[in-house]
Structure formats: C-alpha cells, structure tokens
C-alpha cells in the first residue's frame, strides 16, 4: 500500500471518529466473516473474585521494541503481540491506520484498561490480573480471516489456557 493511501486511510479514520455517521458506508463495504457454526459457550464457573483475568485487544497497541503491525497488506495483519501488563503503560506504540488513536495515546485505558483492572484487583472484585495480555490489529479481511481464526487466534487461546486464565475481556478499536 502506498504512502498516499495510508495517509488517506488515516484521514478517513479521523473523520469517522469525529463524525460516526460517516462510518455507515465503511461498515457496509466491509463484510466480516459470518458464522454458521454453533456459538462456543463456556460460562464462568467461579466468582470473579476467584478468577484470573487477561485482556485481548484489537487496537494495534504494542511495545516499542516489537515489530509494528503491517499496514501495507490490504487484508490486514493477523499476527499478535504479547503485552507485558506491568510495563506497557510507559512503553507503548499504536500501529493502526484505520482509527484515530490520538485519545488512546493520551490515556491507554480507553483501549487497554489495565489501570482500572488493577484497581478492581486491589478491591478484590477480580481475583488476579494476568501479567501477559495480547494485542492484535483489527480490520482483518480477505485471506487473513482464515489465518486469524485458524492459526493466530488459536495460538493466543492456547497461551491463555496455559497461563490458567479463567476470564478474558476483549476490547476493540
């Protein structure tokens, strides 16, 4: 994707953030994968005060040292980044041209609410907050829908399971 079209995407993202009604055409044009399978169903079995919680976000946030998400591929980047919850607040970048992240740069909690979740952990509302969280870039399309659901999302699910996470909160952008 050329620099001009990346700039165009960023401009559109800014306009849509401030005038949400403009997004309607965008939403209609983008046809997400439609499910015909049974909806997976695993309701929580323990009180939240005994659960370990992790966050998965599709806001394109990552640490400075990590490879940025690929903004050149029109089908998006289906890879993920592991986020260290203890350091991300002071060490983050957002790579995502499809939304205006200037507010999220002012306060990361609006896309990855780790400060709020830490407060809830201290109050005993949540049993334990995981150290590792996961970040994707949303806006996956075309051939990468299969990469996401068949590979990278499965890998993250397995990592969360190995980390004995009981509950996952997902936040978009």
């Amino acid at each position: 994707m050329s620099i001009t079209s990346r700039l165009k995407n960023r401009l559109i993202a800014k306009l849509i953030t401030h005038y949400p009604s403009l997004a309607k055409g965008f939403i209609k044009a983008y046809a997400p994968w439609e499910s015909h399978e049974t909806i997976p169903w695993e309701p929580p079995t323990k009180p939240l005060s005994e659960c370990k919680l992790a966050v998965v976000t599709t806001s394109g946030v990552h640490h400075h040292a990590q490879e940025p998400f690929d903004m050149q591929d029109n089908d998006g980047d289906p890879s993920f980044r592991a986020i260290d919850g203890t350091t991300i607040g002071g060490d983050f970048r957002i790579t995502h041209d499809y939304y205006d992240h200037s507010d999220a740069e002012k306060d990361l909690n609006i896309i990855l609410p780790l400060d709020r979740l830490r407060e809830l952990q201290q109050e005993g509302v949540i049993g334990r907050l995981a150290n590792t969280h996961y970040s994707f870039m949303g806006h996956i399309d075309g051939r990468h829908i299969a990469t996401l659901s068949g590979h990278t999302a499965k890998q993250v699910a397995e990592k969360l399971r190995q980390d004995q996470v009981d509950v996952v909160l997902l936040t978009p952008a």
């Binding site: 909806i39 009180p47 609006i110 952008a173």
Partner: protein
C-alpha cells in the same frame, strides 16, 4: 475481534467482548457482548474519565455472569458524552 473471542471460548475460557459496531458483532456472533454506540478508538470511553471506564468494565462483568443465551448482545445505556456517571450504581457480586 469476535473471531478471536470465539477461539478463546473454544478452549474453555469464559469471555466478554466490548463492541462499538453492532453490525459486525451480529454477524460474527461471539458468545457474549456489551455494545456501546461510541466512536471508534473509544471502547472504554474518554481519556482520563476514570468513572466512565470503570462503569464499562463493571457492566461487562455483569453481562459475563448474566447472559444465558449464546451470542447475546447487551446494549449499555451510556450515551456518548451525555451520561452522568456520578449517579451510576455499581453492581454487587459477580457470581455464577
């Protein structure tokens, strides 16, 4: 995002998603969702608005325990920049 949520739930982990585009969520059908008609890039609200961010998280937890129909979407009553969070009553215990 809903696709990822489905894969997470498939390995036995309970999940709750925040959505700001109801049309996508209706198509992808993740197990449980709270929806807000808010601008892109602001699923938890405005920068620095601690009460607002906390309210969204607590409502997500409430939905995590109260949704009984797979694929259900709960529409949260918070209006963008027009909601008074001072009068928000926090839910009690989150238990199955």
């Amino acid at each position: 995002m809903g696709l990822i949520q489905r894969e997470i739930e498939k390995v036995g982990i309970a999940s709750i998603g925040v959505s700001i585009v109801r049309e996508y969520t209706e198509k992808v059908q993740p197990p449980r969702t709270v929806f807000l008609r808010w601008p892109f890039g602001h699923p938890l609200g405005e920068p620095g608005n601690v009460k607002q961010q906390r309210a969204v998280i607590l409502e997500a937890f409430r939905a995590l325990y109260s949704i009984t129909i797979p694929g259900e979407i709960v529409d949260l009553p918070f209006r963008w920049r027009r909601h008074d969070y001072e009068s928000y009553v926090e839910p009690g215990l989150f238990e199955p």
